[in-house]
C-alpha cells in the first residue's frame, strides 16, 4: 500500500494534499494495494473526511502534540503508520516541514529517499523520480534500488487529483504524539500577507530597483494584493534589511515555481534565477533592457518601475 501524509491547517487540507493523491495513484498503478492517508493534529478528523473523498483510506490522530510541527514527532507517527500498514511508499509534500522530516522517516524505515521530486514512476519493483539539481539548472532522474521509499513531492507541480467515485473509509488511529527534545519558545508569522511563498500560484518579487522599503509598500505590495500573490525579495534586498530573510527567493532562500512570477526591479543574478527559473510564466519589469532577467522572461516591460507598476495595478484592478 501507499501512505500519504498530507498537511492541513486546522482541518482544511492544503493544496499539496490533492497533488499527493495524484502521485499516489501513479504509484498505485504499478505497486498495487490501497492508498492510505495519515492526518495529524487538531482538525485531523475533518481533514481526513476531506481526503477520503479521493478514494483514500484516511486515518486521523487529533493529538495536540502534533502542533506545532516537530520533525521527530512527525517522523515517529509516519514511520509507525508506515510499518503498521506495510507501506511500500510514503509520500509527503516537500514543504519546509516535509523536507525536514522525510529524510528522518527514510532512515528510520531503512528506506530510500527521493527528495523534492516533480515526477514519480514505478515498475512495480522500484520507484523513480525526477528532481532539480545544480541550482535548479539540471533535471536529475534517480531510482530506488529497492522498496520501501519515502518521497517528498515538490508543491505546485502535479495536477490536483479529482474526487473518486467511491470515497475511502475514515477512522481514528491510536497514534499519540511522541516526546521530542525540542521545546518551542515562540513563533512569528511571516509578513507575506497571508499568502505563503511556497504555495502561492502568483509571486511578485522586488529587487534593488524598487528603491527602498517604502517602495515595497508603494509598488510591490499593492501589485501582489491585486493578483493575490505572495511577496518575494532578492538577496540584495534582504541583506539591506528592507525585507525579512523569510521572503528571499533564490539559492540561499526559497525555491518557487508559481504559475506567474513577476520580477520587479531586479536584474536576475544566477543565484536568484535558481530560485524561480521553473516558474510557468515569468514577467519582468526593469529599466535596463540588457538585464539578464529578460532572458528568462516570457513578457517584459523595459521601463521605470515607479511608473509601470502603478499602471499595472490600475489595469489589473479594472
Amino acid at each position: 500500500m501507499i501512505l500519504l501524509v498530507p498537511e492541513h491547517a486546522a482541518g482544511t487540507l492544503r493544496g499539496s494534499a490533492r497533488e499527493l493523491v495524484t502521485a499516489g495513484r501513479t504509484l498505485q498503478a504499478a505497486l498495487g494495494g490501497e492508498i492510505h492517508a495519515l492526518l495529524l493534529g487538531p482538525g485531523a478528523a475533518a481533514a481526513a473526511a476531506e481526503i477520503a473523498k479521493y478514494g483514500v483510506q484516511a486515518h486521523h490522530s487529533e493529538d495536540a502534540g502534533y502542533e506545532p510541527f516537530k520533525a521527530q514527532v512527525w517522523t515517529h507517527a509516519a514511520a509507525e503508520a508506515a510499518t503498521m500498514l506495510g507501506a511500500k511508499a510514503v509520500l509527503v509534500p516537500a514543504s519546509r516541514s516535509g523536507l525536514s522530516y522525510a529524510p528522518r522517516v527514510a532512515v528510520r524505515l531503512n528506506a530510500a529517499l527521493l527528495e523534492d521530486v516533480i515526477e514519480v514512476d514505478s515498475d512495480g519493483a522500484t520507484v523513480g523520480g525526477k528532481r532539480f539539481t545544480y541550482l535548479s539548472r539540471v533535471t536529475e532522474s534517480s531510482r530506488t534500488t529497492a522498496l520501501p521509499v519515502v518521497i517528498s513531492l515538490k508543491v505546485n507541480v502535479l495536477a490536483p487529483a479529482e474526487a473518486a467515485a467511491a470515497p475511502g473509509a475514515v477512522a481514528a488511529i491510536d497514534l499519540p504524539a511522541a516526546a521530542s527534545g525540542v521545546e518551542v519558545l515562540s513563533q512569528a508569522k511571516a509578513s507575506t500577507g497571508g499568502v505563503s511563498l511556497d504555495e502561492a500560484s502568483v509571486v511578485v518579487t522586488g529587487g534593488r530597483g524598487v528603491g527602498s522599503p517604502e517602495g515595497f509598500t508603494r509598488l510591490v505590495e499593492p501589485l501582489a494584493a491585486t493578483v493575490n500573490a505572495a511577496v518575494g525579495a532578492t538577496r540584495a534586498v534582504v541583506d539591506a534589511g528592507w525585507r525579512p530573510y523569510a521572503d528571499q527567493v533564490g539559492q540561499t532562500g526559497k525555491t518557487v515555481a508559481p504559475n506567474v512570477y513577476i520580477a520587479v526591479g531586479l536584474s536576475g543574478a544566477v543565484q536568484h534565477l535558481s530560485g524561480m527559473n521553473r516558474s510557468k510564466t515569468i514577467v519582468a519589469i526593469n529599466k535596463d533592457k540588457d538585464a539578464p532577467i529578460f532572458k528568462v522572461a516570457d513578457y517584459g516591460v523595459v521601463g521605470d518601475v515607479n511608473e509601470v507598476v502603478p499602471e499595472l495595478v490600475k489595469l489589473l484592478k479594472g
Binding site: 527528495e115 530573510y245 544566477v270
Partner: protein, 251 residues
C-alpha cells in the same frame, strides 16, 4: 565541547553547467566550499569567541578535490579536519550513515550542516544525520545561542519563524542570515597548512550502501517567449496586461 562542521565542495554558482551524454560534466568547472557550509564554520568560531570552550572539527566525505574546501575551512578557523576520501557515489541517506559514525567517534555534541547543497539542491543530510544519531535537529537556522547544555535557535518554518530550545547533542542546519562568514586572511591560510588534515575511508565508519542510484541528468531549460514592451508606461503596461490575459491566459 567538540563541534563538527560538515563540508562539501561544489561548483561555483557562477560556473556554467554542461552535460555530456546523460550526465553532468564537471570537467573544467571551478569548485568552491559550499557557501551554506561557511555559516557553520563561522558560527562555531563565534561560539568560541563568545567564551565557549570548543574544538572545531571539519568533516568531509567526498573525492580528493574536496581538500581545497577543507583547507578553506581550516583557514577560516576550524582546528583540524577529517577527510573521508572516496570516489564512491553515496546518496544523502548513506552519507548520513557514514558521517554519523564519524561524529560519534569524534564525540561531538554539536554538528553544523549546510541547509541546502548547491550541487544536489538537497536539504536531506542534516535531518538524516540527526536521525541516525538519534538527536534532534533544527533546520534553516538564522540565530543561535548556547544556553547551558542546550541551544536556543531561531529558524524558518512554513508559516514564518520559530524560536526553539534544544538540549545538546543536536544537529543544526545553517543558512544565510545566521552570520556573515569571515574571509580567510593570508596569515591564517599559511597557518592552515600546518593544521591536521587526517585522511580516512568510508570503511572506517562502517561504509553504507546507497538505496538510490542516478539514472540520468539533463539540462531542460524552458523556452521563454522574451516578448518585451517598452516606451510609454501606460502603453507598455496595457500591452503587458493584454498579453497576460489574452495570450498567456493568466491573471
Amino acid at each position: 565541547m567538540k563541534i563538527c562542521t560538515i563540508l562539501k565542495q561544489v561548483p561555483d554558482a557562477e560556473a556554467s553547467i554542461r552535460t555530456s551524454g546523460d550526465r553532468v560534466d564537471l570537467s573544467g568547472v571551478t569548485f568552491v566550499m559550499d557557501g551554506m557550509d561557511e555559516y557553520g564554520v563561522e558560527e562555531a568560531i563565534r561560539l568560541r569567541e563568545g567564551g565557549a570552550q570548543v574544538e572545531i572539527v571539519a568533516l568531509a566525505l567526498g573525492p580528493k578535490r574536496f581538500e581545497d574546501a577543507i583547507r578553506t575551512s581550516l583557514a577560516i578557523g576550524a582546528d583540524r579536519a577529517v577527510h573521508i576520501e572516496t570516489d564512491e557515489t553515496y546518496d544523502a541517506i548513506s552519507q548520513a550513515r557514514i558521517l554519523a559514525e564519524a561524529v560519534k567517534k569524534e564525540g561531538a555534541e554539536l554538528v553544523f550542516v549546510g541547509g541546502k547543497e548547491a550541487d544536489w539542491d538537497s536539504a536531506a543530510l542534516g535531518p538524516a544525520l540527526a536521525e541516525v544519531l538519534g538527536w534532534p535537529h533544527v533546520d534553516w537556522t538564522t540565530k543561535l545561542a548556547l544556553s547551558g547544555a542546550a541551544v536556543e535557535a531561531t529558524h524558518d518554518t512554513d508559516s514564518g519563524t520559530e524560536t526553539v530550545k534544544v538540549a545538546l547533542p543536536a544537529v543544526i542546519t545553517t543558512q544565510q542570515g545566521l552570520n556573515e562568514p569571515r574571509y580567510p586572511t593570508l596569515p591564517n591560510i599559511m597557518k592552515a597548512k600546518r593544521k591536521e588534515l587526517r585522511k580516512a575511508q568510508p570503511a572506517d565508519y562502517g561504509a553504507a550502501t546507497a538505496l538510490t542510484r542516478l539514472t540520468g541528468e539533463a539540462i531542460q531549460v524552458k523556452t521563454r517567449l522574451n516578448k518585451l514592451f517598452s516606451g510609454d508606461a501606460v502603453e507598455s503596461a496595457t500591452a503587458l496586461v493584454n498579453a497576460l490575459r489574452n495570450e498567456a491566459k493568466v491573471l
